[in-house]
């Protein structure tokens, strides 16, 4: 693969197309090793989980800021106001002016609220944040968000933590086709093959948490996802063959008399 094949978000380039979450691990040490194994360069951290006043915080103190871009997320916010407050708090505490915008008003499936997400994105972009919004796979919403100046769109593959893979492929395909910002498939990716599928479709990156953190061997699963992302990206760049309804022999017989 071309060494210049980098992911560029808000003018910053990354060689890894795997973004990782930091929740759900059985220990901070295991989280740290998994981040390392994944090769990720962007690590998202739930602001509701971290204690910004505690230098020994179990997440932040284990994420090496010289290696990773910390992407605070607004998990737990149920409306634009809360998300904006959390983002501002993180920036004021010196965490980052990048924010993964999550506005999830219902606590069961944690599906994002399109109206409040758009509202919060508008405020945060104007306020100078680099906003990466988590959205349902809604192509029109993706364009509306681009219009207000977000730096990626992050459509979900399936409900968060569900490990069900890309169930929203038709809409994600449209988002990718129309996007002028990187498309990061977020949520629901349960296996390295799901990550590969997203990259094969032309997604620019994926974000994975549960499937790695909850695996029996998170470090190995992080490596596996990294490989899945690489395979998917290479497949996309190489140009995938068309899907046909009929069989095509892999070693065609030629020279028959008819």
């Amino acid at each position: 693969m071309n060494d210049n094949d980098t992911l560029t978000i808000a003018g910053r380039s990354f060689s890894s197309r795997l973004l990782m979450g930091t929740g759900k691990f059985r220990s901070p040490e295991e989280m740290s090793k998994s981040l390392d194994a994944s090769g990720t360069q962007i690590v998202t951290v739930a602001l509701r989980r971290v204690d910004l006043d505690d230098p020994q915080d179990h997440i932040l103190s284990y994420v090496d800021r010289s290696k990773y871009l910390i992407l605070p997320n607004t998990s737990g916010a149920r409306n634009a106001g809360e998300a904006v407050r959390l983002a501002r708090l993180a920036r004021a505490a010196g965490v980052s002016d990048w924010v993964k915008l999550e506005v999830t008003p219902e606590p069961r499936y944690l599906l994002p609220d399109p109206v409040e997400t758009l509202k919060a994105a508008e405020i945060l972009v104007k306020d100078g944040f680099k906003v990466l919004p988590y959205i349902n796979a809604d192509p029109v919403l993706a364009k509306r968000l681009e219009d207000v100046g977000v730096v990626t769109v992050m459509p979900l593959g399936s409900p968060i933590g569900s490990n069900r893979g890309i169930k929203t492929a038709v809409s994600i395909q449209i988002i990718i086709e129309q996007a002028t910002v990187p498309v990061v498939v977020d949520a629901g990716l349960g296996a390295p093959s799901h990550a590969a599928e997203a990259l094969e479709m032309g997604a620019d990156a994926v974000l994975v948490n549960t499937a790695i953190a909850v695996a029996n061997d998170p470090e190995l699963m992080a490596t596996a996802f990294s490989n899945g992302v690489t395979a998917g990206r290479q497949g996309y760049l190489a140009g995938l063959g068309k899907k046909l309804l009929v069989a095509e022999a892999s070693s065609p017989v030629t020279g028959l008399p008819w």
Partner: protein, 379 residues
């Protein structure tokens, strides 16, 4: 509309038939239930059957996986802080009952601050304020001040377990920073409820039953429900509980549901439960509730013994208390004397550090902070 309508409907023979049906279910029915997670209502019934007992280890593995998938390999910690043991109710099973001749104590705001500071030093960020129902000593204004104080001092999540209030009162408390309300129905059986709550405002079954709804309407983000294990047949109670969760979810789509499993052991009042629940039955209930409700926060308090708690960490249970004291002022204001009446005896009396160690030994991470001051009531 009230959940009472559902209770009345279920009482028209539906729940009794369901309990009778549970008796007839086979191991095959249990295995079939496990084919679909979350389990269906029929599957939930199968998990409550006697036949499920033989499959407990398989069910436990599934519950552990499901809990990890939703909440991670973590256990959240919270701590109760008793504000007052003064109470005008006379619940037969409770150490705070109004007719008991025990020393009563209500913490002053200064004492609350001292207790809060002590608990914050331990690392706690999630607090449950507990108060007997007595508006002379613990009016809404007092609870409002306690919530404000706890938030100001550093707790990020503050819930209350106190007498039921009006929607407007909950709204006032939400504005003060209230995040959660815990209110156990104690028993869903109307007759049993009347018997064990002979006097005081608590004898109003419907008012108590509607409390989670009033709290949710006021904007409280998390409502905790449950029944007191031992008052009535646990299978029947579990079916009511399942229906209650479903009802609240559909109606209050933005409200998180938490479920606790308080079990009557030895009580300071000498009350003996008519339907005692064994350890294995308690495990069975918890695992069944988890497999039916992947996203519900399931809590287990220090009423239970350490070995049982350790086993259930992560196996359905994702939130526990540790180092709890169940009388007002017992953390620092009056630790040695500890003369004020306890609500119930603490069985797991390990220190928070010892419980954290046990959590780690189960291959889990402990979490003090899982909320933020910037997250406010729904309204």
């Amino acid at each position: 509309m009230s959940f009472l309508h559902t209770v009345e409907y279920l009482n028209s023979g539906i729940i009794d038939s369901a309990v009778a049906k549970i008796e007839t279910l086979s191991e095959q029915d249990v295995l079939k239930a496990l084919e679909r997670i979350p389990v269906t209502p029929e599957g939930f019934m199968a998990l409550l059957s006697r036949q499920a007992d033989a499959l407990t280890s398989d069910i436990e593995i599934l519950a552990r996986e499901l809990t990890a998938q939703r909440f991670g390999r973590v256990v959240n910690l919270y701590i109760p802080l008793y504000l007052t043991n003064s109470c005008i109710n006379n619940c037969l099973y409770c150490g705070f009952g109004s007719k008991r001749e025990v020393q009563r104590k209500t913490l002053t705001l200064n004492e609350i601050a001292l207790e809060c500071q002590r608990l914050l030093q331990e690392g706690y960020k999630s607090l449950l304020l507990v108060a007997g129902e007595d508006k002379r000593w613990a009016p809404v204004k007092y609870i409002e001040s306690a919530i404000k104080l706890a938030k100001k001092l550093g707790f990020v999540f503050v819930a209350i377990e106190a007498g039921p209030m009006t929607e407007e009162e909950y709204r006032v408390l939400c504005n003060a920073g209230l995040d959660g309300v815990t209110v156990y129905q104690e028993t869903y059986e109307i007759e049993t409820y009347r018997k064990v709550h002979p006097s005081g405002p608590k004898k109003d079954y419907k008012y108590r039953l509607d409390t989670p709804e009033r709290a949710a309407r006021a904007g409280v983000r998390s409502v905790g429900i449950g029944f007191l294990l031992g008052l009535a047949d646990f299978r029947k109670e579990s079916l009511f509980l399942g229906a209650h969760i479903k009802y609240l979810r559909k109606k209050y789509w933005q409200t998180s549901i938490a479920v606790s499993f308080p079990r009557i052991h030895e009580t300071p009042s000498g009350f003996s439960p008519a339907h005692p629940v064994s350890d294995s039955e308690l495990v069975q209930i918890i695992l069944a509730v988890r497999l039916a409700n992947p996203d519900a926060v399931l809590t287990l308090s220090t009423r239970e013994a350490s070995a049982l708690r350790d086993r259930l960490f992560g196996a359905g249970i994702n939130q526990v208390s540790a180092g709890s004291k169940t009388s007002p002022g017992a953390y620092i204001v009056d630790p040695a004397g500890n003369q004020a009446a306890k609500q119930f005896p603490v069985v797991d009396d390990r220190t928070p550090a010892e419980v954290i160690d046990a959590i780690r030994k189960r291959g889990l991470e402990w979490v003090f902070k899982d909320w933020d001051l910037n997250l406010r009531p729904v309204s």
